[in-house]
């Protein structure tokens, strides 16, 4: 929507309670700590546990963000929950050549069968990583690691302080899932 800028617009898809809003917030805080300009906000709709939800990030490394509306044409879409793929059109408005990051066990060929080849795909089995490290399949921080692999919007170390502030005793485990997801995410150009 806005040309001539370093603006990156990200849309998170999750289900209520999975922490999509928290992911968006952690990312914006990390970007702001790096001196960048950023916004994180939830979709302004009813909030119900288990129902599909979206959250948004805007990050601009050079200038203040002067937009107060939902993101309609994101550069990046992140899907926390594979069961959403058949429920929500997650690629709606995704810019041609944009990045689609999915928590899934499927491979590129299977995902391309459903979503075509218009997007740069990044896939990770976040459920397994989260289950093994956190003991629960809450994948919001795991998917931050996948994002950084697909697009280095912030430095990984910048996430450490926001994660510590948010998760306190379980911060270290959440930092570990970010690192492991970064290592295991497969990115197809």
């Amino acid at each position: 929507m806005v040309s001539k800028s370093d603006l990156i617009e990200i849309r998170w898809h999750g289900r209520g309670g999975q922490g999509a809003v928290t992911s968006a917030e952690l990312l914006a805080k990390a970007a702001i700590d790096e001196g960048k300009f950023a916004q994180a906000f939830p979709a302004f709709g009813p909030e119900r546990r288990g129902a599909p939800v979206v959250a948004f990030d805007r990050i601009d490394s050079t200038k203040p963000i002067r937009l107060r509306a939902e993101i309609r044409e994101p550069d990046v879409v992140i899907v926390l929950d594979p069961t959403l793929l058949s429920v929500v059109k997650v690629t709606a408005g995704l810019k041609p050549g944009g990045i689609l990051i999915i928590n899934t066990r499927k491979d590129f060929a299977e995902i391309e069968k459903d979503f075509g080849k218009d997007w740069k795909l990044a896939l990770v089995d976040a459920n397994t990583i989260a289950r093994e490290i956190l003991g629960v399949t809450i994948v919001n921080t795991t998917m931050l690691g996948a994002l950084l692999k697909a697009m280095p919007v912030v430095k990984m170390e910048s996430l450490v302080e926001p994660i510590k502030e948010r998760f306190d005793r379980i911060a270290e485990k959440n930092i570990n899932v970010v690192k492991r997801a970064f290592a295991e995410t497969k990115v197809k150009e």
Partner: protein, 391 residues
């Protein structure tokens, strides 16, 4: 040196009230204000602020408790939204008439029915005439700054009026964004604890807000009106002092790229930022468009507005509230009225847009600029329309 923090705007407002070292908070939670008062309660419960948090059973009680606490000279803060502001409506008049320097953050929201909790300025417009100073914020930094600065304005002995700091629900309150925090020392120096001139005090009894029969009521109201009108220059004085102390300067009407602009948009609140981006885009395309942002809603800045409008040919006022059966959106009606006596006033066109939290994008501001001349030239009975209605 302060620090730059990525924080949800609601929490930043609560942090501002904490840095203002408020003595009493009386509030009732309501979306989209909830995070402000939750965080305020947390701050007090954690012992990070020596204050009384009064958990009341309604907004009517919240404002009533604020009256009592403020009348004793305690620095008093509250926050509300939408229906909550409506429920405290009658008490708002008492606060201003009794000259109580309460500061209240309002997370602007739509009014029922149908139930809608999202960003809208219908609540703001419904309290237009309650005698409070009213400041409308465009982003999180302004919400933080005006929460702090408003104590200094409210508590000035020449003013002694309550202040509402309006922040669009969700569009501001629920966004994490960068906010510059000053140090505690800087804030304390800027708003030292004040002494209310005539507080409730059992050792020196006073009577406040008592009975006024016909022979004196008009004079009391005239005094109140003179008081709020006179506050305008004092508000600017304190905003200038704020600018000197913190580097961010505020004015009753802000102009953006208005030089030589034939068409001006005028917005209130969070519309302003998206409209700035729209103006940038239109200017790049060679269109003669600028933007005015109304920051001070009460007292209304007539002179500043007239000056800012200058020689523009078209003025488009965008309201996020509707005046049912009236002469257009509330801000539109007032702006048009303020310009009527000017010899060369612009054609004023009004749009009511973004009700109940509906997004207004850059493209939609561009469409308003395209649509406005058509409305202006037809000379319709009411030169405004509800924008983007599906019919």
């Amino acid at each position: 040196m302060g620090k730059r923090v990525g924080i949800e705007v609601s929490l930043a407002i609560a942090e501002a009230a904490k840095m203002a070292d408020v003595d009493v908070i009386a509030a009732y939670p309501i979306t989209p204000q909830t995070h402000i008062v939750e965080h305020m309660a947390e701050i007090v419960a954690n012992g990070d602020l020596d204050a009384e948090y009064i958990p009341v059973e309604s907004e009517h009680s919240a404002m009533s408790a604020c009256l009592g606490s403020s009348a004793t000279g305690a620095r008093t803060f509250t926050a509300t939204a939408g229906q909550g502001l409506e429920l405290m409506h009658e008490v708002l008049y008492v606060a201003s008439a009794m000259r109580l320097p309460i500061v209240m953050a309002v997370a602007n929201r739509a009014l029922s029915s149908p139930l809608n909790v999202w960003g809208d300025q219908s609540d703001l417009m419904a309290v237009r005439d309650v005698g409070w100073i009213q400041i409308i914020c465009e982003n999180g930094q302004e919400a933080f700054d005006h929460t702090i600065c408003s104590f200094r304005i409210a508590e000035d002995n020449r003013v002694l009026l309550p202040v509402m700091v309006h922040c669009d629900g969700f569009y501001l309150t629920h966004v994490v964004e960068p906010i510059e925090f000053p140090t505690q020392e800087e804030v304390t120096n800027f708003i030292p604890k004040f002494k209310y001139p005539l507080p409730l005090d059992t050792s020196k009894p006073v009577s406040m807000g008592c009975f006024a029969p016909t022979f004196i009521y008009t004079e009391a109201k005239k005094a109140q009106e003179v008081n709020i009108l006179n506050s305008k220059k004092i508000i600017q004085e304190h905003w200038d002092a704020f600018g000197k102390a913190f580097g961010r300067y505020y004015h009753p009407v802000e102009s953006y790229r208005t030089e030589g602009a034939k068409t001006l948009l005028l917005t209130l609140g969070s519309f302003g930022e998206t409209a700035m981006t729209a103006v940038d885009k239109m200017r790049d395309e060679g269109k003669s468009v600028g933007l005015l942002k109304l920051r001070l809603w009460r007292p209304f800045p007539y002179q500043e507005l007239r000056k800012a409008v200058g020689n523009a040919e078209n003025l488009i006022v965008v309201d996020r509230a509707l005046s049912f059966g009236g002469c257009g959106g509330p801000a539109y009606s007032e702006v048009r009225s303020a310009l009527y006596s000017e010899k060369n006033h612009p054609k004023v066109v009004g749009f009511v847009a973004g009700l109940g939290g509906r997004d207004i994008t850059v493209t939609e501001f561009e469409n308003m600029v395209k649509r406005a001349p058509q409305i202006a030239n037809t000379g319709a009975e009411n030169e405004y329309e509800m924008f983007g209605v599906r019919e």
